[in-house]
Amino acid sequence: MDMNVPKKKLSLKEKYSHMTRGLDWEPSYQSKDDVYPYAKYEGIKIHDWDKWEDPFRLTMDAYWKYQAEKERKLYAIIDAYAQNNGHLSVTDARYINTVKLFLTGVSPLEYMAHRGFAHVGRQLPGAGPRVACLMQSIDEIRHAQTQVHSLSNYNKYYNGLHDFRHMHDRVWYLSVPKSFFDDAITAGPFEFMVAIGFSFEYVLTNLLFVPFVSGAAYNGDMGAMTFGFSAQSDEARHMTLGLEVIKFMLEQDPDNLPIVQRWIDKWAWRGTRVLTLVAMMMDYMLPKRIMSWKEAWEVYFEENGGALFKDLARYGITMPKCIEDITKEKEHLSHQAWATFYNYGAAAAFHTWTPDEDEMNWLSEKYPDSFDKYYRPRLEYWRDEAAKGNRFYNKTLPMLCQVCQIPMLFTEPGDPTKICYREAQYKDDKYHFCSDHCKEIFEHEPEKYIQSWLPVHQIYQGNCFPEGTDPTAEGFDPLAAVLAYYHMNFGRDNLDFEGSEDQKNFDAWRGVATSND
């Protein structure tokens, strides 16, 4: 009989060092610059990659073990949720619209993050960050897959979820998250790490996942809650990578500071603009609200981000410049965003509605300085007109910001009655922006942003109709042609929630589920 003699175990530190330092090698017949062609052009100076420390020191065997455990837990719940008709236990069918927005707007970004970290993991010359990027790349494709898988259950019953990937590349509002990630992934490896690893993962991701996922739980969506928490459990590791990258660059060379600061300024703003969608989700789309956007911003950005920037001050890093404007905007962001989707409810792949009286009172309470004064009259007018059969659908296309690609809906910092207009001239053309910050980003790298695929302009160029469409034909209906190009079904995926097929089906099915008729 074999004796099972326990071997002396390596410590965490030793195992990690064997894997990263031990398995790395110096190239001998190719120059390092040829092996890592993207490592220097951004101007970041690194003198010693061995100074890189990963505080989690996760080795591959442990990584697979814990990820497998997470998957088992996740699929046990997804199965149970589907087997028990879990979709009928959500608060009300309006909730499902948050899931549609998530699947079309966020899940494809997870896939892009997978590609981005795979690329950066290949390009960074240090073994430590390469391993961390590899793990993150695998995490991100897991997130994309588990989200698609969990949400596919809703696609069996509700409208608007049938072609999320196709929509992501074409639909007007989805160009906002899409172009955000395209901007990051087309930057160099260090900027990508600051954009996604630090600014998005460390500073902003809590604002997406924690309130959204906790909100999903609060609204009875076990499926979304579980994939959300499962993804978020990887996020702690990603955040740590993002913070280590910043510290590492700053410790390696003092010349890196201004470059890093500019990236932080840029990406804190780009990320916050993308989160406009989340602000609206929290304040308007969750039937049972968990906390307001403003509260989430205060807890996760002002308090938590404040602590982070105070800590980074020793390297000379300062709070991103845009924070002052964002602080003013937190009173208005969600209301202005929801008003925009209410305007263009005929061209969205989810339903919109006016909040009921209780919900408006909640908004007054959460936004005492802004809601009753500026936004309640707007919503009440729309509600009353809809009741008279005159529901407002804006059919004229909006002007967009050249950088964030969001319709020019944002108001002047400090004056919520005036749209904020900014413009710049570059070579032969004028360019327009929603803010000083988007303008500044453009002016630093105009050659990049003059290529923006702005959905409104693309429609006017005739690039957003199904193949073979003749826009000069008698009776041509441009809106119908654009929706066909988006693969949106008019009357099912779009328009008001009131009277929608989703609303009728949910009520009917819930009735069947809770009675013997």
């Binding site: 814990y66 996922v213 968990i290 602590a307 001050a313 020793r314």
Partner: protein
């Protein structure tokens, strides 16, 4: 000194972990919210393997934390025995 925080899923496995954290960090404040718990602590927060093991009656690998971890803030120091979050300023 700023707060660090650790957010965990609220489930059977984390019940003992949260108890151990509060035992080892008397200054920590636990905020329960739907399906999760956020633990704030001024300056630093330490998770100790031995305290958790004493509560669950089996050996515990600190990296098991990853399964139920939602989010955190602060710099991390991790050894086989302890995981500490802290701010330097």
């Amino acid at each position: 000194m700023s707060n660090v925080f650790l957010a965990l899923q609220a489930n059977e496995e984390t019940r003992a972990i949260i108890e151990a954290i509060t035992e080892d960090n008397p200054h920590a404040v636990v905020h329960p919210s739907p399906a999760m718990v956020k633990i704030d602590a001024e300056g630093s927060l330490t998770v100790r393997r031995e305290t958790i093991e004493a509560l669950i009656g089996r050996s515990f690998d600190l990296q098991e934390l990853h399964i139920n971890l939602i989010s955190l803030s602060g710099h991390i120091d991790e050894t086989d025995d302890e995981l500490t979050l802290h701010w330097n300023a």
